[in-house]
Amino acid sequence: MNIPTMAAMMAEGKKPEILFWVGCAGSFDDRAKKITRAFVKILNEVGVDFAVLGTEESCTGDPAKRAGNEFAFQMAAYQNIEIMNAYEVKKIVTTCPHCFNILANEYPELGGNYEVIHHSTFLQQLINEGKVKMKGGGEFKGRRITYHDSCYLGRANGVYEAPRKVLEALDTELVEMKSCRTKGLCCGAGGAQMFKEDEPGEKRINAKRAEEVAETKADIVAVACPFCMTMMKDGVSSDDPNTHTVKVFDLAELIAQGQGLEDIGM
C-alpha cells in the first residue's frame, strides 16, 4: 500500500488533489481499520492523487457536539481547521458519514471551507468514469445484499442513491429493508450513543434493525459507516438463528473484493 501523508508531500513540494480523512474509527477500531485499508487499496489501484494527515489528524469533535459539548467540538474543529488550512486542503474524501457531515456542514462557519465528499459518492464517480472495474469472478452471484442507510448520509445529507449505485456495480441482488431511504432506521450509534449504555427500554436499536435484516433474507448487510458497522455486526451476530450467518461489509470492502484487490472473507 502506498499511503502518502500531507507532511511528506509538503516536504517534496507537492500538494495532493484530495485529502483522505480517515476518522477516529477508521484509525483505531480494528474492524473499521480494514475498511480504511480496503479504501486505500482502491485509491492506489485507480491511481488517485491523495494523502492522509496521519498522526496530525484528530477527532472532528462530532460525538462531543452531538452529546451537547459544543466547547470540546469547537476546540477540536479549531485545531483541525488550522492544520488543514495550513496544507491548503481543497477537497476531502472520508469513509465516515459523521466526519463527512460535520466537515461539510459545520466546519465552514468556523473557517474550514472544503469540498467534502463521502466515499460512497466518490466510489460511484470512479465507477461511472470507468476507473473502477469489477473482475467478475462470480463470487457475488446469487448473494442477496441489503443496504443499511446511515442517518448522517441519508436524511442528514440526502445521499441515498450513491451507495445503492455502487452496490449495483456488483453482480448481486439488492434487496431493501422495510425501513429504508428517508425512513431508514438508525443503527443506534449516532448522537454519541456509541459511547454510553442505552437508556432503559424493550430492546436495543440494532437488535430491531437486525430483525429487519432477517426479514430480507439477505446474506450480506452493506454499510457505509464505521459506526453502523459496529452496530450492525453486533446486531446480526447475536444468538438469533435468523441472522447469525449474515455478514456485514462496508461498500469499500465489497468493491475491493469485486476488483480482486483483497479477499474480505465473504
Binding site: 481499520k33 496521519g54 477540536a76 457531515n101 436524511r155
Partner: protein
C-alpha cells in the same frame, strides 16, 4: 323588518364582537408567548421559503408519505378551505338579516352565479367526504388504536381535544345539510345544489313549512356558532396548526438536516482563549461583558421559532412513530418534547401574566415533569423525526439545545461521556488511544 329578524341581527353582532374580543385576546397571547423566545436570525432565500409554504403547508406534500391518512386529511382540509368562501355570505346574511344575499344578487349575472353554484356543490360534496374521513379518524383513534395516536403522552386532554374536533366536524356537516336541505325544501328544491336536494327529498320531505323554517334557522345558526366557537377553541388545541403551519414552514431551517448550529457564544469564548490579547479588551462603556447561558434550560432560552413550532405541532405522532428510541421502548418521544415545550410555555406565560415578570417557580423545561434527562439522553440525532414531520418541525433542534444546557451549564453528563470528552480533548479521539498510534493502521494487515 320583523322583530325576529332584528333580534337575530343583534345577536349575531354581539356574538361576533365577543368572539373577536376573546379569540383576539387569546391569539394575541400566543403571539406574545412565542416572543418570549430568544431572537433568531432567519437565514436563507425568501423564495425558497415561500416555495415550501406552497408545497408543504398549502400543498401538504409531506403528508403524502402515508397515502391513506393523507387523502382523508385532504378531504377535511379542502372542505374546511372551501367552506370559508361560503362563510362570506353567511356573514353578510348575518349582519344584514338577508337570506342568500349573494345568490340572489347573482341571479342576473350567470357567470358569478355559476361560480356560486359550483362552490356550494363542492362544499356539499367535500363535506360528505370529510364526514366519511371523520368517522375513519375516530375509528383509527378509538377503535383501531393506531400506535402513533395512542402513546401515553396522548392521555387526557390531547386525546379529548382530538375527539372534540372530530365530533365538531360531524356537527358542522350536519348543520350544513340542515341549512341547505331545509332551504331547498322551502324553495321547491329549486337550488341547483345536488346533495342538499337529495337530502331534502329523502329526509325532509313532507315536513311543514314552519318546521322547515326552524330546521333552516337551527342549521344556519348552528353552523355559524360552531365556526365561531372553533375560533375561540383553536388557541387551546392542537388544531392551531391550521393557521401556524404556514409561518412555521416559512421559518423552518433550509439547511441540510445534518447541520447542527455552531454556538456563536462558544466560538467567541474560544477566540478569546486563543487570542488572549482581546480577552482583556473590556467593553468601552466599562460594563462587565454579559456571561451567556449555554443551551436551553427552559422555554425562554429557546429561540422563538422553537416556540412557534410547539404551538404548531399537530400531535400526529409521525415523528415518534419513526423515532428509533421510541420504537425500542425508550422513554423518549419527539412528539412529547413538542407538547412539553408548549405546556411549559403556557405555564411560564401564565406566571408572567399573574406576576408582571417571571417569578421563579422552581421548574424548568428540563425536569421530570416535562422533558427528563433520561429522554434527552436517548436521542441518536438521527433526524427521523424531522424527516417525518408534515409541518417541518424539528424536535431534534430543541433536544440538542437542552442537551447543551445539561452538559455546559449543569455538568450533567454520564460518566462514559465525560471520559469520551476528555479523550477528545487530550488524545484527539473519543477512545483512550495515543495520538501517536493514529497512523498505525497503515502498517497492520
Amino acid at each position: 323588518m320583523e322583530t325576529a329578524q332584528l333580534i337575530q341581527i343583534i345577536a349575531f353582532v354581539v356574538i361576533n364582537m365577543a368572539v373577536f374580543y376573546f379569540g383576539g385576546k387569546k391569539f394575541y397571547n400566543i403571539y406574545k408567548n412565542v416572543n418570549l423566545g430568544k431572537d433568531k436570525v432567519i437565514e436563507g432565500d425568501r423564495s425558497e421559503r415561500l416555495k415550501n409554504v406552497i408545497l408543504i403547508a398549502l400543498g401538504q406534500k409531506k403528508m403524502f408519505k402515508e397515502i391513506v391518512p393523507a387523502l382523508l386529511h385532504l378531504a377535511v382540509y379542502l372542505a374546511f378551505l372551501i367552506t370559508q368562501i361560503e362563510l362570506i355570505e353567511i356573514f353578510i346574511d348575518g349582519f344584514t338579516g338577508g337570506h342568500r344575499v349573494l345568490y340572489n344578487a347573482f341571479t342576473e349575472l350567470s357567470f358569478l352565479k355559476g361560480i356560486y353554484v359550483l362552490v356550494v356543490n363542492s362544499i356539499e360534496i367535500l363535506s360528505v367526504l370529510a364526514l366519511f374521513a371523520t368517522f375513519v379518524f375516530l375509528a383509527r383513534r378509538n377503535l383501531l388504536k393506531v400506535p402513533r395516536l395512542v402513546r401515553s403522552e396522548m392521555n387526557g386532554w390531547p386525546k379529548l381535544d382530538a375527539n372534540i374536533i372530530l365530533f365538531a366536524e360531524i356537527y358542522l356537516v350536519t348543520c350544513i345539510f340542515m341549512m341547505n336541505g331545509a332551504d331547498q325544501a322551502l324553495h321547491n328544491n329549486d337550488y341547483p345544489f345536488l346533495l342538499s336536494k337529495g337530502f331534502s327529498n329523502i329526509v325532509l320531505s313532507g315536513l311543514s313549512e314552519g318546521s322547515l323554517h326552524i330546521i333552516e334557522r337551527v342549521g344556519w345558526w348552528g353552523h355559524i356558532l360552531g365556526v365561531l366557537a372553533f375560533i375561540v377553541y383553536l388557541p387551546y388545541s392542537k388544531h392551531l396548526h391550521i393557521m401556524l403551519a404556514f409561518p412555521n414552514v416559512y421559518f423552518a431551517s433550509l439547511k441540510e438536516k445534518g447541520f447542527m448550529s455552531n454556538m456563536p457564544e462558544v466560538t467567541n469564548e474560544i477566540k478569546l482563549m486563543m487570542n488572549p490579547d482581546t480577552a482583556f479588551a473590556a467593553p468601552a462603556d466599562g460594563t462587565e461583558p454579559e456571561i451567556p447561558t449555554f443551551g436551553a434550560k427552559d422555554v425562554q432560552d429557546l429561540p422563538w421559532t422553537n416556540l412557534l413550532a410547539a404551538y404548531t405541532c399537530t400531535e400526529c405522532g409521525r415523528c415518534t412513530e419513526q423515532c428509533p428510541a421510541s420504537q425500542t421502548g425508550k422513554k423518549l418521544s419527539p412528539r412529547k418534547v413538542m407538547m412539553d415545550t408548549r405546556d411549559r410555555l403556557e405555564e411560564v406565560a401564565l406566571n408572567i401574566r399573574e406576576n408582571g415578570v417571571f417569578v421563579d417557580d422552581g421548574k424548568s423545561l428540563i425536569s421530570d415533569e416535562y422533558v427528563s434527562v433520561e429522554e434527552l439522553r436517548a436521542c441518536t440525532t438521527c433526524n427521523a423525526c424531522v424527516e417525518a414531520c408534515p409541518v417541518m418541525i424539528s424536535p431534534l433542534d430543541i433536544i440538542i439545545q437542552l442537551r447543551r444546557n445539561l452538559i455546559l451549564e449543569q455538568s450533567n453528563s454520564p460518566e462514559e461521556w465525560n471520559v469520551m470528552f476528555s479523550n477528545i480533548e487530550n488524545n484527539g479521539a473519543p477512545w483512550k488511544f495515543s495520538p501517536q498510534d493514529r497512523f498505525n493502521w497503515a502498517n497492520e494487515e
